[in-house]
Symmetry: C2
Subunit: 248 residues, 2 copies
Amino acid sequence: MRTAPVISQKKPLVLPTIHSQKNCHNCSKVNACFAHSLVGQELDAFNSIIKHSIKLNRSEYLYQAGDKFNSIYVIRSGSLKTLIDDEEGREQILGFSIQGDVVALDGAASNVYPTTAQALETTYVCEIPFARYIELAAEIPELYKQLLTQMSHQIRHEEEHTLLIGTKSAEQRLATLLLNLSKRYAARGFSKNKFNLNMSRRDIGNYLSAAMETVSRLFSRLQAKGLIKVHGKLIEIKDHDGLEKYAA
Amino acid sequence: MRTAPVISQKKPLVLPTIHSQKNCHNCSKVNACFAHSLVGQELDAFNSIIKHSIKLNRSEYLYQAGDKFNSIYVIRSGSLKTLIDDEEGREQILGFSIQGDVVALDGAASNVYPTTAQALETTYVCEIPFARYIELAAEIPELYKQLLTQMSHQIRHEEEHTLLIGTKSAEQRLATLLLNLSKRYAARGFSKNKFNLNMSRRDIGNYLSAAMETVSRLFSRLQAKGLIKVHGKLIEIKDHDGLEKYAA
DNA sequence: CGATGACTTGACTGCTGTCAACGTGCGTGG
DNA sequence: CCACGCACGTTGACAGCAGTCAAGTCATCG
């Protein structure tokens, strides 16, 4: 199942053949990874603690809430969702992570992962053993800074998510999500106006605090207004500015 | 205006006279501050970079979104709310912070505070210049660990907030907030069954993604069920277990 | 090609928001 | 110290957005 952004097939030049690269040296340019500002010996040292390109099939777990916390992960290709369960077993999706995103930072304060990460498609991740990262960071302060920056970004993401759910109507929420994904895909060299939603309508609804049926209706409504074109999971943004006005 | 937990007046022994203490040496035991695991020279060094006990009056800002990011803060006494504004000017309250809580961690990834912190009552905070903290952390790795832990906790808080808003009904949300506050007050030596809500009903509603009127009705409903007793801002939990069942 | 799951659309219900009026309490100023 | 005024909070009436239930369509995979 190929659910990565379709445009990726048209721009192989910026996308290295992921599987064959088993080190950080020729990868750091594409990913906003911890490695990206390192060179020489530092990059070698960093590279040596990483477990590269672990493959996950669709719906496989990277880690589950309650598992012993050992590592954080950077997504090399593909995508996954992070989620948390409440006492009643209801799940809340916290985010969708794509290439270059770092996950599991919320586990750093305890010994177990408090949340779960599940692949939305075939996904490759690099595992960074946390304790070893910290050891290395003692010698390479840059690594500490990067970690702090990533964690701060993570806090920002959660805050924006709260803002999204708390202050906007369901249609604004969906429009905002589409624009956010568009922006993130664009930042990674994919098309900003045409991409696949590799998560289900149910997942989108869960993330936006809306019922699956509502999401479906909203897609229809946005399409009827000429703002987007929906072909199943493939979304085409026809009027980016219009969608932005709609989102605010 | 005195809105701190009422019980504080009955337990002065564990609460040092805040204003007179202008250093970390006899404060670290009460607060879950960065200083709490430091001793000797390390504590001296940490103490020397801190600006102690800055006073904020009710509704004064500690920092506002857009201000240049310089410092993070630990609350010494009192309370404040953190919030974020959307494009339309609607505000979303992200959290209520009390004694020992660290705020402004979300600013570490950029040069400006992305959110706003506003005092809910007369509040004293300690300012920690971030750059100097990082310098010091290079010599005292423990400080780095504490910062990571705090940031990870912050992520956890935001995640739990999302879970709260996303999966629970309005009454469950309010019950959960009350239990959460109860737990946090108890952890700081205050009564877990009787405390003042120093934020307005509107603030509570905003935080819970509910209208002020809804919050008011829910207080009445919880009181009618005998779970709590409401005296304006003073809340008494009459049936802790019952409230917990109600929250889930 | 059939079965299963995902998605869409419709009908109806209900929770919660909005509007409105009233009550309460705190702080200011006389 | 008391009274007034204003902000905050409560309660009621009503409406609407979105959830739930249900039926039907579409797509994917064995």
